[in-house]
């Protein structure tokens, strides 16, 4: 016994110190933050280029975003199966170039990047470009003159002039100035082009800013444009769609200046669309991730190395060992009875999706109603497998009913009922029902209550932001957790429940 104890002790000690050691190394030498601290929004932007190839070789050029207006790009990823791919670096711009000799079907190319904006800094100062006056027809030129004259009278400076102009273009056609209406009509181009032409005619240096309006979870988002103009002193930005001054919130700046973003040679019907996801990550982690993206490839145990979707999955997975520890402690040290060893973890995972109170009430409703229906089934003398299958179907119907009824009553939260594992619920109902028949309802309450208590504790641990931060950023701590679980497996002391169970032995006989 000693030998096996020592061996376990050595293994557990080794694992424990390995986990803690790696964590401390990452925290103090590599500078990973031990505490979650402030959170920051990191955007994942997936760009999709769709096009239909025509005959001959295909070349697709995409101007890549630079770090503008305080945006920092953390990671870039290109998908280009079957294409030749290069990134062409010019003096101040970068271009992704996909090439292929021949192509038959319409194709989608992907470019994914992760970016965040640590500071809301302004765009860099730039010498105003020389103004190219637009070529105009006589009547167009006259209309423009009149419009410029009218708005100059109403405005105090360049900024208010541009603002008035944008407002004018945004008005409904019946309230619009006749000249503005005429210009928009004859140009037959988007408003921003007309706006730029008027500004050029008025002698105000201006250019486009291309970028993406960021909305979490948005798919098929397209490019948007802002206009920046120079008032003789500095650059100002106006959002032509809203006629509001300044950089809008959540605008990712892709390119500054005119010129197309996407060029497709040997293809047509091209489009550029974006899918957007935002993640909240601890600020300090973002910084270190950025710094160490390349520096410590070997030592970087971080899950941040994975693609975003898998990161999310692992975020959940790394929490399960912690929940397992809760179960081990509650069963071995406290001596709580649960129905099914790890059933509480599965319930706790469902709670993560439903939130605690909703989840609890849903669980109690489902199991309660399930037990009631199951008591009918027990009179039908069915074979075990078909009885449990019947319970599964009943559970699914109950889930649907709960979802529909609660939706009709406007309780959207209850729709999360689908996150409960159906099979586990069915087995729980079956076991509880047998327990009821054999040992009475007291035992059912005891084991059901025990399971729920453990599930609630596991849920509270798993939703703790410190636990979340540590398991995700220091997965090696799981080794230390494993060590603790191994040691608990050799614990031979009394359980808390035994102090109650044997309490009567205290009496003198």
């Amino acid at each position: 016994m000693m030998a096996s104890r020592t061996r376990i002790g050595l293994i557990a000690g080794g694992l424990f110190f390995l986990g803690v050691g790696l964590t401390l190394y990452k925290a103090f030498i590599l500078g990973f933050p031990l505490l979650p601290g402030e959170y920051r929004e990191v955007w994942t932007i997936e760009s999709k280029i769709n096009f239909k190839p025509t005959k001959g070789p295909v070349q697709v050029d995409l101007k890549l975003p630079g770090s503008l207006a305080g945006w920092v790009i953390l990671e870039e990823h290109f998908a280009s199966s079957g294409f030749g791919f290069t990134v062409v670096e010019n003096s101040d711009t970068r271009e992704a170039r996909w090439t292929r000799q021949q192509l038959v079907d319409s194709t989608t190319l992907y470019y994914k990047l992760q970016a965040y904006r640590p500071t809301d800094s302004e765009l860099d100062d730039l010498t105003p470009p020389t103004i190219e006056k637009p070529r105009l027809e006589k009547d167009q030129s006259a209309a423009m003159e009149r419009l410029i004259g009218l708005l100059s009278e109403q405005s105090s400076d360049t900024a208010s002039f541009v603002s008035l102009l944008a407002t004018e273009f945004n008005k409904d056609s019946d309230a619009q100035d006749h000249d503005a209406q005429f210009l928009l009509g004859t140009f037959d181009e988007p408003e921003k082009v007309v706006l730029l032409a008027v500004l050029a005619h008025a002698g105000i240096p201006a250019q486009e800013i291309r970028g993406i309006r960021l909305e979490d979870g948005r798919r098929r988002q397209t490019l948007s444009s802002l206009i920046e103009f120079h008032d003789g002193d500095r650059w100002l930005i106006i959002d032509p769609a809203r006629a509001s001054m300044g950089m809008p919130d959540n605008f990712f700046v892709w390119q500054r200046g005119n010129g197309a973003l996407l060029g497709v040679i040997g293809g047509g019907d091209s489009s550029l669309e974006f899918a957007l996801v935002s993640n909240r990550l601890p600020a300090k982690t973002v910084t270190s991730m950025e710094q160490m993206a390349h520096a410590y490839a070997l030592l970087d145990f971080s899950i941040y190395a994975l693609p975003v979707e898998q990161q999310g999955a692992f975020k959940g997975l790394m929490l399960i060992p912690v929940a397992a520890l809760v179960v081990v402690i509650m069963r071995l040290l406290v001596g709580l009875k649960t129905s099914g060893t790890f059933m509480p973890i599965l319930i706790a995972l469902a709670f993560l999706q439903t939130t605690l109170l909703t989840g609890l009430s849903l669980f109690i409703i489902l199991v309660g109603a399930g037990l009631w229906i199951r008591s009918w089934l027990s009179h039908m003398n069915l074979l075990l497998v078909s009885r449990i299958s019947a319970v599964i179907i009943v559970v699914i119907f109950m889930m649907a009913t709960t979802a529909i009824i609660s939706y009709k009553f406007g309780l959207d939260r209850a729709l999360t009922v689908t996150f409960f594992p159906t099979i586990i619920l069915a087995w729980t109902i079956e076991r509880m029902s047998i327990l009821w028949e054999e040992d009475g309802w007291k035992e059912v309450l005891k084991q059901g209550g025990g399971s729920l208590l453990v599930a609630i504790l596991a849920y509270m641990v798993m939703t703790n932001s410190l636990v979340e931060h540590l398991t995700f950023n220091f997965p090696e701590l799981t080794l230390s957790l494993l060590a603790v679980i191994l040691l608990l497996g050799k614990y031979t002391g009394y359980r808390l429940s035994e102090l109650y169970r044997f309490s009567d032995l205290d009496k003198p006989t």
């Binding site: 003398n381 044997f502 309490s503 032995l505 006989t509």
Partner: protein
Amino acid sequence: MIKLISPRKLRELGILGMNRRNVGFIGKYNPRKNYRLVDDKLQTKETALRHNIRVPELYGVIEYQHEIAAATRKLDKHEGFVIKPVQGSGGKGILVIIGRDGELFRKSSGTLIDAAEVRRHLSNILAGLYSLGGRNDKAMIEALIRFDPYLEKYSFEGVPDVRVIAFKGVPVMAMVRCATHESDGKANLHQGAVGVGIDIASGKAVRAVQHGHLVTNHPDTDACFAELQIPHWSQILDLASRCVAMTGLGYLGVDIVLDKLRGPMLLELNARPGLAIQVANMAGLRHRLAVAEKIAAQTDNHEEKIALARQHFGVEH
């Protein structure tokens, strides 16, 4: 306020806790490969017969659903019988039929059930409802035990069985579980059955406990436990300690019934015997297990082990 006992006091009393039982005894002395022998009651029966240990007579085994109808017809020639899952645990799924009333069967509680109910019970057993891990199981039908009339007054609507804990061939602690009306004829202590601690030396009752409290008389039959003396005590100890050698399990719970005609018989074995026996005896197992370890180291002789156990574990009256 919930009353708790201090861990130090428990240690002084030598109470064996669940964790220590699992790690220190079951995990250590009971090799997993030998579990089959005790978990499968058919194998237990066969092995016991090979070792000349008496067991209740086997009427038949049902393995498949389609055999049920024929088997129940064959039951007609037996007045009383017991149906058990072969791999049942904790006394679950045991149906005791003590007699007939026309077409109906009389359960030990006196309730009458029809043949369909019996068939349903059999099919539940086959589906694994009462078995470890819910595996498919077999059902066995064996002879009803006509238990010793002397013990009859100590049990209400159920068979009183003797549980002996044997460690390395040394009987360590014993109790009789007496069913009560409250326990619904089941010999389950936490359901209200009375546990009677038995002196290893003499086979006499030491004390009786129901729900953790001392009782002097059976709550239903009013029999006085102080007068209880288990008959054939030497045979029982002999049987219990022989089971250790038979199974190769060092730490074993042996359940024994006393038949009116055939004497002590092995009912079933348990590789993970419960801890309630300590409550019935108001004594801890740990000190006794330490002594038993010494006895086992001292001698290999079967008779000597029992003699030493009786000498060491005897309780003064």
